[in-house]
Symmetry: C2
Subunit: 276 residues, 2 copies
């Protein structure tokens, strides 16, 4: 059975204005909704990943905005059927106005903002290896790229501490290509994160240009958590002190030749290599 | 002695229009000039790197456009003195118009476009390890990030084959943070590159999702050249056939979880790790 569709024909339709308004953080906060654009991204939000010992974020789709003129294939209608929610159909011209993309694929979902705070009481026992901790990340696009890379490297859990950005910023969703919804990604305070992980025999490695140990030296077959700081400010002194060791990546040329996402990728693939 | 300065006070000054025109490839081609913005980038263009067995591109600065109101420190004047060329001083408002940046630092150089074709006759003997080969790169920003990462990983030479972009696109310069001028980076045909490197006992490894060998397996202490394809199209069949081996990176989740620059960084740092 087809979802009921409402046809929107005017730019000044309040629903159109409402979706667009979710590009602003204060509107996302007020409405407790956020914006997921794209077939692949919405599909991942709907499927999630509940198989691991920690599930990915649970995303509830509130409504869909579609423009069949922009569809690229035949799977779009199946996805729309699968999501039980109101569907608003728009002409291409109006859809392009609310889209974030140069070439939109005709699908935008509005979702309920989930509670992304890690619940240490519900999921106290962790055996995932490695865990990635990102402190104070500033750029949504960077966080997205990090999530995408972390999924590739087989990271089990990402904990974001003291973010300077909204985890549900559309640029996080976009740059993550939807891995925000399949790789378990949560917010947790640095204190709680370090204290819980330490109790569970994780070695916490702060990765920083001033690190003491070459990043390839630790035994990453053992439960490891890698802690990275913000692009501009690096790790807080507190984060460095509380870690069990600090790691550096060797670097020729200027000291800023690796960006945050690149450093993450290199360390995470070293962990994958060691685990064989 | 201070360079002679000409003061520009009008938006309609032909010099202002001329600099701006270099944002377009056809104007860069016609004028045989390109655009370098930023203190760090210009400094690297001026210093270059002539110590290795292959020098970096030789860059001749043609003219400088400056706006002292935007200077961030005290080194700008020293750099301007060092470059012997005409200097045009602009008010901040006009400078911001020609700048590529959100927060310009008051320095833009126009440089003569160098001949970037690798001269196999002049530099036939290579002992640099590793060498990076990029085939058909499409996105200027990606190439810049790759260069920046390659410099960090200690790559000796980058050869660009069949680029779909202009090597002197302002976004290459910007994303490379000027490493385009310090890391030897040249254009060469795929045929010539593979034939010359093979003769010199390089093992050429094509890195591709369909690769046969895990990327950590080859002995990278031996002379190695890593060949990467374009973001959208991957490597050409020719490139894969002509290589000695094809490498893959293990990947969890979706197959597209690593972008081109990230894959380069991971393979290059594995080479650095093996060399110890």
């Amino acid at each position: 059975m087809r979802n009921q569709r409402q046809y929107i024909t005017s730019f000044s339709n309040p629903k159109v204005k409402w979706v667009s308004s979710l590009k602003e953080k204060r509107n996302r906060d007020e409405e407790k909704k956020f914006f997921i654009e794209g077939f692949r991204e919405i599909q991942k939000a709907v499927s999630g990943s509940r198989n691991g010992s920690v599930p990915s974020l649970e995303i509830k789709i509130h409504s869909l905005f579609i423009s069949p003129d922009c569809f690229l294939g035949e799977n779009e209608e199946k996805l729309i059927e699968k999501v039980k929610c109101p569907v608003y159909e728009l002409p291409k011209k109006i859809f392009e106005k609310i889209s974030y993309r140069d070439r939109p694929d005709g699908l935008i979902a509005v979702a309920e903002t989930p509670n992304a705070h890690y619940n240490w009481e519900n999921f106290p026992k962790l055996d995932l290896n490695p865990i990635l901790i990102i402190e104070g990340v500033e750029k949504p696009g960077n966080l997205g790229t990090i999530l995408r890379t972390a999924e590739g490297a087989g990271v089990g859990l990402v904990l974001i501490t003291d973010p300077r950005i909204d985890l549900f910023n559309p640029n996080v969703v976009r740059a993550s290509t939807g891995t925000l919804f399949t790789l378990p990604t949560y917010i947790s305070s640095l204190e709680e994160t370090i204290s819980h992980l330490t109790k569970q025999d994780y070695r916490i490695y702060a990765v920083t240009p001033e690190g003491k140990t070459l990043y390839t030296k630790p035994d990453m077959k053992k439960k490891s958590a890698f802690l990275f700081g913000s692009e501009q400010y690096g790790l807080t002194p507190n984060a460095k002190e509380k870690s069990h060791d600090t790691l550096y990546l060797p670097m020729f040329g200027e000291a800023d030749s690796l960006n945050l996402a690149m450093s993450c990728g290199i360390v995470l693939y070293e962990s994958l290599r060691q685990k064989g």
